[in-house]
């Protein structure tokens, strides 16, 4: 009995593991997205409807009901913050269950467990990217021109990606020992949301406290690129972003190791 023809890929043996990882990641992410929208009437359109509805609510409450701000380009200001926050919060919440909810996958020999939180964060990234054009439309309505500074966006996104994954590694590991991590995280994220200056500007006298909020650092970065093109390179302080990048560079391998160990322990639990 002839077993199927030898694979064309097998010649490039050095490349193969990486191609395999990439394909696996893409496959799992596209499965996630299919699952989210598979049985809904509007399907993939929810990706756009969701952030828009949120924007309407916040713009109404903070732009019309509680008008006490003098933020220029208020809609774009809220929307940019909201998108960054939604990505961060959504993927972190999902990824916290990465070990606990994927017992079957973790038990597959040779399955790279560490890919699981990456899948969650990547799914969030897809949502983020899908909403980005809407943000650009709001920018255009607010009269902000597109400019070369936008090319810095991918760098910030990469930083956010790495930071979220590192945090997810730690939280998912913690969730194995303490199953209420996910619920506790919900409350903490709620607090962090209000401290991230999504719909207000940080008052001058509190800025020394707010500067420790990593999400705010990211949002500030995005906003300076998107909303104030002329200030991008000149007046914006990039130091916090660089420090955040350094912290992430330490946290990522550390979290990875903890995650690996905890997931191994998890499958052994009876």
């Amino acid at each position: 009995m002839a077993i199927s023809s030898k694979l064309p890929q097998q010649k490039k043996l050095i490349n193969r593991p990486w191609i395999q990882r990439r394909d696996l990641l893409v496959g799992l992410v596209s499965r996630d997205i299919k699952l989210l929208y598979n049985r809904s009437a509007l399907g993939i359109a929810w990706m756009l409807i969701n952030p828009l509805m949120q924007l309407v609510v916040y713009a109404f409450v903070f732009g019309i009901l509680l008008v006490n701000n003098s933020i220029p380009n208020f809609t774009s200001y809220i929307f940019s913050g909201l998108l960054v926050w939604t990505w961060f919060q959504g993927s972190l919440t999902e990824a916290t269950g990465a070990i606990v909810h994927n017992r079957a996958l973790i038990r597959q020999p040779g399955f790279p467990v560490a890919v699981l939180p990456v899948v969650n964060v990547a799914t969030g990234l897809i949502h983020f990217l899908m909403s980005l054009p809407i943000l650009l439309i709001f920018l255009w309505i607010d009269g902000i021109e597109l400019h070369a500074g936008l090319l810095l966006l991918p760098l910030l996104m990469a930083l956010q990606f790495a930071l979220t994954v590192s945090l997810a590694y730690v939280l998912a590991s913690l969730n194995v020992t303490f199953r209420d991590t996910q619920h506790t995280l919900g409350v903490l994220l709620q607090m962090l949301f209000y401290f991230s200056a999504i719909f207000y500007q940080v008052p001058e006298q509190y800025s020394h406290i707010f500067q420790f909020n990593p999400v705010l650092i990211l949002i500030d970065g995005y906003r300076s690129i998107l909303l104030s093109p002329e200030a991008t390179t000149a007046s914006f302080g990039w130091m916090p972003v660089l420090i955040l990048a350094a912290v992430t560079a330490v946290l990522l391998p550390l979290g990875h190791r903890i995650f690996q160990r905890q997931s191994e322990r998890f499958v052994e639990e009876l």
Partner: protein
């Protein structure tokens, strides 16, 4: 070929924690984060050593909870060993949790892609063999329906088909060679053999001695995490069957397995009467043995199995006061059964010898003789002892005084001749 599995002195310990161990952050904070020590440990596997060469199939037998699945998982790299080493070379393909990555709402084709990616193929490779996988699973007309519409068998077939199409160099199969109907099973076994012929090292767990005999080059019997036997399939299967029947051999953990027949051998078995045998006839079983070493109080046993495998009768010399020191030389032992009410059919006779107090199995001979019982008028059932039906036709109110008058006796429709 350079791949295979070598396992040396493998040990795996599980810990049981006290039930009041904190489960939530709140509880842990209240308990002051003190370290919880495991209450007690137990070894799920201990001192396990064996190897599987490329192109070889190893069958793993054992009771439920003997550590078979744990062993396969460890070899698959899931969890880490506490003792000993596992050397594996080659890509592992495994059928441990079939259909693990499947999602109900996605179609068979979508699930196939994800499951094959999880199994270690690249996208190009999956696309190249998608048709082959679907064909093997016999799901051509259902592949674009959601998995939730599949029957259990269909899902299993797809999962199995994916797993054996990932070109594994080491294949671990956890009791899944009995997936689907007979036709599909035969196809799976054929495929497993083909993989073996290509140099794949295969380990599979089975509860079916016949399958082990048919497929395996070697077999491993696990008992409470220890290797009870590791040899050619026939020897191990014999040992397994003996261990599966507690009346035959109640003490399971055997430190040492004697080579069967080295100390005492059963050379012949005679039945009388031979043919024809009718239901209810007395039966005499004579065993000839050849003893090679002096044996104190050995236990002889005899079993009668129906051809469908059901154990109909066992008897042994334990606590029968006929045990004594057996000295070297030949001898004969006789079992007299006063009447054997077996229904018509084909039966096989098995005999074995254990050392004193069931310590070890010294000799075992299966199917030494065949017993054919002439058909009775009752077709079903293994037993057909003489029996009498009585029907009470009396009315309830006059039951006390007309007990005898109203009864009518019906003679047995088929008395034991």
């Amino acid at each position: 070929m350079g791949h295979g599995i070598v396992v040396q002195n493998l040990g795996k310990r599980f810990s049981a924690y006290p039930s009041d161990r904190p489960r939530t952050i709140m509880q842990a904070a209240m308990g002051g984060f003190k370290r919880f020590k495991p209450m007690n440990d137990f070894w799920a596997l201990r001192n396990v050593s064996f190897e599987v060469q490329p192109g070889e199939i190893l069958g793993v037998l054992g009771h439920n909870g003997a550590g078979k699945s744990t062993l396969l998982r460890l070899i698959g790299g899931i969890g880490s060993a506490d003792e000993g080493q596992i050397h594996i070379r080659g890509r592992v393909g495994a059928l441990l949790d079939l259909g693990a990555g499947f999602h109900e709402d996605l179609t068979g084709r979508e699930n196939l892609m994800v499951a094959a990616l999880i199994g270690g193929l690249t996208k190009v490779e999956v696309l190249a063999r998608e048709a082959e996988i679907i064909e093997f699973a016999e799901l051509e007309s259902f592949i674009d329906n959601p998995i939730r519409t599949y029957s259990t068998g269909m899902g299993m077939r797809l999962a199995f088909s994916i797993a054996i199409h990932t070109d594994p160099q080491l294949l671990l199969i956890d009791e899944h060679l009995s997936v689907g109907d007979i036709g599909f099973k035969t196809k799976c076994i054929k495929r497993v053999k083909a993989l073996r012929d290509q140099g794949c090292a295969i380990m599979f767990i089975s509860q079916s001695p016949d399958q082990v005999m048919e497929l395996c080059d070697r077999a491993l019997l696990l008992n409470r995490g220890q290797v009870a036997a590791y040899s050619d399939p026939k020897t191990v299967v014999t040992e397994y069957q003996a261990a599966m029947h507690p009346d035959q051999k109640p003490r399971l953990p055997q430190a040492e397995v004697e080579v069967l027949g080295r100390q005492i051998a059963i050379t012949a078995m005679r039945l009388s009467p031979t043919e024809p045998f009718h239901c209810g006839d007395p039966l005499t079983v004579e065993l000839d043995y050849n003893c090679l070493e002096p044996l104190p109080d050995p236990i002889f046993s005899v079993r009668i199995l129906h051809e469908n495998g059901a154990v109909c009768f066992t008897s042994n010399t334990h606590r029968m006061d006929c045990n004594k020191m057996i000295s070297p030389g030949t001898g004969r032992i006789r079992l007299q059964i006063d009447r054997l009410d077996l229904n018509g059919g084909k039966y096989s006779m098995h005999a074995g010898v254990h050392s004193k107090n069931w310590k070890t199995l010294l000799e075992y001979q299966d199917k030494m003789a065949e017993l054919i019982v002439k058909p009775t008028r009752v077709i079903e059932g293994l037993l057909h002892p003489p029996c009498i039906w009585t029907i009470e036709t009396a009315r309830l109110e006059s039951k006390q005084d007309s007990n005898l008058a109203g009864d009518s006796k019906i003679s047995p429709e088929a008395s034991a001749v």
